[in-house]
């Protein structure tokens, strides 16, 4: 593993049991994400993109093979230890945003800081700064129901960034957005990457994928090519 490697996956397999059937979502995948990377993971629905993201971020563990995050073997960590690692080192962006509907944009972004027991004043400042960075300085007190799809995704991105994680994982971040909003999110990701944020994005959107620094395609649980 090179000095700048954030996460490395070696020969990882992930199997699920669905009743008597064993479903192999990933088969012997190896991939490394370096610091400052902007990796797009493409592939058809059900190909294993989300599963790969979950392994990279320690949301899930491989059935076989190894995943090392900042040098630590995730399989050897407890569920809560991996949760604590994700809270500090991984930012997650979901297709459906998953913002808390009754909280303001600012409060939603504060959430990971509150979970990390950062004091109220500091978390307010940091959340406001990140929202300003994603272009939502004028929407701090708005609730999700008062924001557009693109704005919602930017709030979700701000929430992923607020703990200054080593890696940001985004699963279909433009899946619910129109073309213009998708381009704005891509622009934001490129800007973030340009300032040192390491990104891995699973996407169907080829235009989005072409905007990344590099790209891998997952088909039937394997990396193509």
């Amino acid at each position: 593993m090179s000095r700048g490697t954030v996460v490395v996956v070696r020969d990882a397999t992930r199997e699920y049991r669905q009743g008597p059937t064993v479903v192999r979502a990933l088969q012997g995948i190896s991939v490394a994400v370096e610091q400052g990377d902007f990796l797009a993971v493409t592939g058809p629905s059900g190909s294993g993109k989300s599963t790969l993201l979950h392994l990279l971020g320690g949301v899930d563990v491989a059935t076989a093979g190894e995943v090392r995050f900042l040098g630590r073997n995730l399989a050897e960590m407890t569920v809560e230890a991996r949760a604590a690692l994700r809270l500090r080192e991984v930012g997650l962006v979901f297709q459906r945003f998953h913002l808390l509907p009754m909280l303001t944009a600012l409060e939603n972004v504060e959430l990971p800081l509150a979970a990390a027991r950062v004091r109220r004043g500091e978390r307010r400042e940091r959340a406001a700064a990140v929202l300003e960075r994603v272009g939502l300085a004028d929407r701090l007190r708005h609730r999700p129901s008062e924001l557009s799809g693109g704005q919602l995704q930017r709030v979700a991105i701000a929430r992923a960034l607020v703990n200054q994680p080593a890696l940001v994982l985004a699963d279909e971040p433009t899946g619910e957005l129109d073309r213009a909003s998708s381009r704005r999110v891509l622009g934001l990701f490129r800007d973030l990457n340009a300032t040192g944020t390491t990104l891995v994005v699973a996407t169907h959107d080829l235009e989005f994928a072409e905007g990344a620094r590099r790209r891998i395609e997952v088909v039937d649980g394997r990396i193509e090519g």
């Binding site: 899930d60 949760a83 690692l85």
Partner: protein, 396 residues
């Protein structure tokens, strides 16, 4: 933060919130009232007994408390026997007799100005069975009356009343008179009794029950426990039944045991209703938030924190509903108490619902605890689901 979200959602769904609060309020009120009823009457009765200042009670063998027909014959001799027992300070005999009381000047006993009532013959200096409201204890030729009877007969201290002896065979006499010495609240009287008190000798003479008493009360010397003295009196005479105050309370408690059983069942049902209500609301709320719960778990928020936050909604509903329920229970207890005050055979001073901070706190605590536990279960279940499974379910 999830807790804040959940609590704000309560305002977003006012109807659901109000209905839930209403359910918790009613369940808490019922639980609280049943707890008050379950232990209240026994406690209240014991307090009334203790307030009289006597530790033992003698009654004719084979009779029940407050039976006014049977008497102890030769009470003078019995008094000497009992007062010679170690530990006995004194014995106070009481004769109970139904009298017809008329305002003096009325031609005959009639509904307008006469009343059949319970008369107690007492040694004049004994005030244990009543509390003076006006005037003084009755001396020879005097009578102390209940204020409600005084109002009914339109009489006041200094007025003269005519007395007739009543029994199941009719009323006779009516030539005897007594002067009203004052009014008093009688501790063991039911609200309908409107009793009176006369000197023991006067009532014995009036009812032709010389040297008889309906029951007697015994005051003990300091440092003597009722149990051993009771044993000693029983050994000294077999003519009477000797009961301690605790024994009387037990007898009453046995007679009213169905109240306790009913109260316990209704209290349990109330608690169950509250728990089911909160559990259902919590399960619906958790189900609505599964996507957010999955996302928070994925982000790295600990399971314990999410469970705590999700349970906050139940705690708020139970806290507010429980508080309202306690207020409602106090109002309902007062209302029911006014209805049950006419319960036959029980002294009006005995309360069915005894309000105490401990009982109210217990009811409130039980409802909040039941609600929190009921809210905890769906939250625990949701956070134990695999994060990836939840995300697969929530993400297209």
């Amino acid at each position: 933060m999830l807790a804040l979200n959940s609590i704000r959602e309560l305002r977003l769904r006012p109807l659901r919130t109000l209905l839930t609060l209403g359910g918790v309020t009613v369940a808490t009120a019922m639980l609280s009232d049943m707890l008050m009823l379950g232990g209240g009457i026994q406690r209240s009765f014991s307090e009334v007994l203790e307030s009289v200042g006597y530790e033992l009670r003698l009654s004719p063998r084979g009779t029940l408390p407050f039976d006014t027909e049977a008497t102890i014959r030769g009470i003078g001799g019995l008094r000497d026997t009992v007062e010679s027992v170690a530990g006995v300070q004194d014995l106070v005999p009481v004769l109970a007799q139904t009298l017809t009381i008329m305002a003096d000047g009325d031609e005959s006993p009639g509904p307008r100005a006469s009343r059949q009532t319970l008369a107690l013959g007492l040694d004049t200096d004994e005030e244990g069975l009543y509390t003076l409201l006006a005037g003084r204890s009755p001396g020879d030729g005097e009578i102390l009356i209940d204020p409600a009877l005084a109002a009914l007969l339109d009489t006041r201290p200094g007025d003269r009343l005519r007395l007739g002896v009543s029994s199941r065979f009719g009323t006779w006499g009516g030539d005897a008179t007594a002067v009203v010495s004052g009014t008093a609240e009688f501790i063991f009287a039911t609200r309908r009794d409107m009793p009176v008190a006369l000197p023991m000798a006067d009532l014995q003479a009036l009812s032709a029950r010389t040297d008889q008493a309906s029951f007697a009360m015994i005051r003990l010397r300091e440092g003597h426990a009722p149990g051993p003295v009771r044993e000693a009196i029983t050994a000294a005479t077999d003519r009477v039944e000797v009961v301690t105050l605790a024994g009387i309370a037990e007898q009453v408690d046995e007679r009213l045991s169905y109240f306790r059983q009913l109260a316990a069942i209704l209290a349990s049902v109330s608690l169950l209703v509250a728990a089911l209500l909160i559990g259902t609301i919590s399960a619906v709320s958790v189900s609505d938030q599964l996507g957010v719960i999955a996302a928070l778990r994925a982000i790295g928020v600990s399971r314990r924190r999410i469970v705590g936050d999700l349970t906050a909604e139940s705690a708020v509903l139970c806290g507010v509903g429980g508080g309202l329920g306690i207020a409602l229970s106090i109002a309902v207890a007062h209302y029911l108490e006014s209805i049950l005050a006419d319960f036959p055979g029980l002294p009006a001073t005995v309360r069915f619902f005894v309000l105490s901070p401990g009982t109210l706190a217990a009811a409130y605590g039980l409802v909040v605890a039941a609600g929190v536990v009921a809210g905890l279960l769906p939250a625990l279940r949701a956070t134990r689901l695999e994060v990836t499974t939840l995300l697969h379910r929530e993400e297209p």
